[in-house]
């Protein structure tokens, strides 16, 4: 704080962020938790730093964590998936639409819908080389239109009990059931990116598609699988979300779109692909969940949140771009 010039300190921080994102992000997460605690004590006289709130934070974060898992895979290939929120909405809708026919069937249908949406995105981006943003945005618009038509039909809407428990229940007092989905998925993605051939080609395609092609990788196959996985993971997030809310409406997942991109960017995955991983994204999702609690305590409107998330994405993208350029 004393002799170090301001600019040098900022640069050190940037380097630290790039070299050890996990450490820095964990500190940010803990710090944000403490700040929220202080603010909450000041506002309502109640502590926020309690086992119960920590547990709730993880419960909330699972939905965002799964949505941004697909987003991470897509962004590692140098794309972006703007259909994750709509896919989750579709999945939530189909769970409640077929809830009367048993939870297993409802879940399988929901996951199938998610996979289908992802595969269509993959075909557009991988085979027709449509810009990922435009393709996924277009598919999102189409999906929402179809859902609107479907929602007008007559049917009994029911969220199965199992799904409600999965999305909102806890066991051993503090452990949310949704961690039973999120934790194994996280482990699979983190290990898969590092120790599977698919992980290697995902990084290769994102880092340099030309080089990947010259190494014999058929880029379209990778993109098809990645967008398919993103659809599947988004559908899983939708299932947890509808279980949490115990009802589906067509706006159920839309507030998660921005944070899903923000969580990945915060987690240090390069927007241009080829660098990063899911561990950072998990921390990003946790940070955003606490930030959301803080904003709720502060009574911030949806408008303020949206502006804030936009600025976070912009600022972090710029910081990471700078830091990577400097470390040459």
């Amino acid at each position: 704080m004393t002799a170090v010039p301001e600019s040098a300190r900022r640069r050190d921080l940037r380097r630290a962020l790039v070299d050890n994102p996990a450490v820095v992000l964990t500190l940010v997460f803990v710090g944000l938790f403490v700040v929220t605690d202080i603010v909450n004590r000041a506002q309502s006289g109640q502590a926020f730093l309690t086992p119960k709130q920590v547990s709730t934070t993880f419960l909330y974060a699972a939905v965002l964590g799964l949505l941004s898992a697909g987003q991470t895979l897509v962004m590692l290939t140098g794309g972006v998936d703007l259909s994750v929120a709509t896919t989750a909405t579709a999945s939530a809708f189909f769970v409640s639409r077929y809830g009367t026919e048993g939870s297993a069937k409802a879940i399988v249908i929901a996951l199938g819908v998610g996979l289908a949406i992802g595969v269509v995105n993959g075909i557009g981006v991988g085979i027709f080389r449509v810009n990922a943003l435009i393709m996924t945005l277009g598919i999102s618009v189409i999906t929402l239109g179809i859902l609107t038509v479907e929602a007008q039909k007559q049917f009994t809407s029911l969220v199965p009990n199992d799904v409600v428990t999965l999305g909102s229940g806890r066991f051993l007092t503090y452990v949310p059931y949704d961690l039973l989905v999120w934790a194994p998925v996280s482990a699979l993605i983190i290990l898969g990116l590092r120790y599977s051939g698919l992980g290697r080609v995902i990084y290769a395609v994102g880092d340099n598609p030309v080089a990947a092609r010259l190494a014999g990788v058929r880029v379209w196959q990778v993109l098809l699988v990645v967008y398919g996985l993103s659809g599947l993971l988004s559908a899983a997030a939708g299932i947890l979300l509808v279980g949490f809310n115990n009802a589906a409406d067509l706006g159920i997942a839309s507030p998660f779109l921005l944070p899903s991109v923000a969580a990945v960017v915060i987690g240090g995955t390069s927007i241009f692909g080829g660098l990063g991983g899911y561990a950072g994204t998990i921390l990003g999702a946790l940070i955003l969940t606490v930030l959301d609690s803080l904003l709720t305590i502060l009574n911030a409107s949806q408008a303020v949140r949206q502006i804030l998330y936009g600025l976070i994405i912009l600022a972090l993208a710029a910081i990471y771009a700078r830091a990577t350029a400097q470390s040459d």
């Binding site: 120790y195 599977s196 080609v201 880092d207 190494a215 990788v217 058929r218 080829g274 040459d328």
Partner: protein, 507 residues
């Protein structure tokens, strides 16, 4: 005490004076306190081997990039070049190999874009006996013509110094003659030209003086007519390289012998045509290094594209190990054992990934390998490749932090680790240092001795006799000569590459 610089300096004031120019790209020192002085009214050549720093120097002079150190002055006035537009105001007009014309605009619009006087440009073109429709999109015009338009545009500005950056490369000889005429005319009118080229004969025929760069430094400024090509080449190569060349030749003489001509061919190319390539045929046997020598743009790019699975030929037949070869994706070529080391390393590297991931990348190009990685097997193969290529992996966490030579080794190492039958090397030593070059020559020979077949293109002619068993020269898309490796000296190659030798022994 008071000096009168004006009085006695006038005669010595150079038109262009660049002192101590340095520029580095990351770990690569492209220029190291290079000097260049161009006098008024002279045609000055800038020479150097590939990677000696010619293009960096030209980019500095024309404001395309910023230098790290050094000064540039024009008629004694220091020029702080910030942009091409600023260099133009100082009377410097460059014409690049890749013309500064925007393809989606018409010729007239391109001229308006730069504020050039269309009538003056038209007049210059007329003087060069060229007929150009200014309403054509420049993207629809042939490259040689675009260079001439760019030249006319530069001339219309009446520049003090005209910089011609390899514009005669792949320029048809009649157009090249017109460029020489322009250079002559500039000198007559007391203006200067800085001429960058690879063709030493052109330099001797047209230039008053020549500055020679080696490893980023100006090693000499000479009158090119004194001592001829040999002396220039000596300066360009330097003592170290000359020694390396000598040793390599010695070693080659021991290893090279008659190959087993009865062994089945690794690669048979039969009257293949694509783009510039018109009916090229040759056979490559296991254990053999076959060179392909050609001037720029004679079809070698397309030939390598076809063999590496990037493009499909318009006609002709290719057989690999006796079987018909048809590739629609590099994957098909790799499966057939044909693997490519491209000239541009950036096309083959994953810059942000580790050495290990780069070298192992071809292993996972198949759906069936997308499961769990056998880390031990991968580690073993990568280690073997790293060791046999002597790659320095200290900065190996991200390949972009390696030096150019190490990066090039990585692009070769990935094929050592994954196995291949025929290695397609397209200019594998471009822009890397002499020591690494030598390692690569030795490696290629060893790979061939182990039964690999190697097709080798290089833009450095001196490499052919060092590396190759046989050399084909290609001109205008056709094979013009086939030479035995040792006989492929620079002079013979150059003649054949210009189509001046019609060899009856064409395979």
């Amino acid at each position: 005490m008071r000096p009168l610089p004006h009085l006695f300096m006038t005669e010595a004031v150079a038109l262009l004076e660049a002192r101590d120019l340095s520029k580095s790209y990351g770990p690569v020192q492209a220029l190291l306190s290079a000097d260049l002085v161009v006098a008024p009214g002279e045609v000055h050549a800038l020479l150097g081997a590939n990677g000696a720093g010619k293009s960096t120097l030209v980019k500095l002079l024309t404001g395309v990039i910023q230098g790290d150190e050094g000064t540039i002055s024009v008629r004694g006035r220091e020029l702080r070049v910030g942009s091409p537009a600023r260099a133009a105001r100082f009377g410097l007009a460059p014409v690049f190999q890749d013309p500064a014309l925007v393809p989606d605009l018409t010729v007239a619009q391109n001229l308006r874009l730069t504020g050039a006087d269309a009538r003056a440009v038209a007049q210059r073109l007329a003087e060069m006996e060229l007929d150009v429709d200014f309403t054509e999109l420049t993207g629809d015009l042939p490259l040689p013509l675009l260079r001439m338009i760019d030249l006319a545009r530069a001339l219309a500005r009446e520049p003090e110094l005209l910089l011609l950056d390899e514009i005669t490369a792949a320029l048809p000889s009649d157009l090249a003659e017109r460029v020489f005429a322009v250079m002559h005319e500039r000198r007559e009118r007391g203006r200067s030209v800085l001429f960058i080229t690879h063709r030493l004969k052109e330099v001797i025929a047209t230039c008053d003086r020549a500055t020679i760069l080696r490893d980023g430094t100006a090693v000499a400024t000479i009158v090119p007519q004194e001592g001829g090509e040999e002396r220039i080449v000596e300066y360009m190569l330097g003592p170290e390289a000359a020694r390396a060349v000598g040793e390599a030749i010695e070693r080659d003489a021991q290893v090279m012998g008659p190959r087993d001509a009865d062994a089945p061919a690794a690669l048979e190319v039969e009257s293949v045509s694509i783009g510039h390539v018109q009916g090229v045929s040759f056979t490559l046997r296991p254990g053999e290094i076959l060179g392909v020598a050609a001037l720029e743009g004679q079809g070698q790019d397309e030939l390598f594209d076809v063999l590496s699975g990037e493009r499909t030929p318009d006609s002709g037949e290719i057989r690999v190990g006796g079987r018909a070869f048809k590739a629609r994706h590099p994957y098909d070529a790799i499966r057939a054992g044909l693997v490519l080391v491209p000239a541009d390393r950036l096309r083959a590297l994953l810059p942000q990934r580790s050495v290990r991931e780069n070298i192992a990348s071809p292993r996972y190009n198949r759906f069936s390998r997308w499961g769990v990685i056998n880390m031990r097997e991968e580690g073993r193969r990568v280690r073997n490749a790293v060791e046999s290529l002597q790659i320095d992996v200290r900065a190996g966490r991200q390949v972009r932090r390696l030096s150019g030579g190490n990066q090039q080794k990585v692009t070769i190492a990935r094929w050592l680790a994954s196995g291949f039958a025929t290695l397609l090397c397209f200019d594998p030593t471009r822009g890397i240092d002499v020591g690494t070059k030598r390692q690569i020559y030795v490696l290629l020979r060893r790979l061939a001795d182990d039964g690999g077949a190697i097709l080798f293109f290089s833009s450095e002619l001196a490499e052919f006799p060092l590396v190759c068993d046989r050399v084909l020269t290609v001109f205008g898309g056709r094979v013009t000569a086939e030479l035995v490796g040792e006989a492929a000296d620079e002079a013979t190659l150059l003649r054949a590459m210009h189509g001046l030798v019609e060899d009856e022994a064409v395979a």
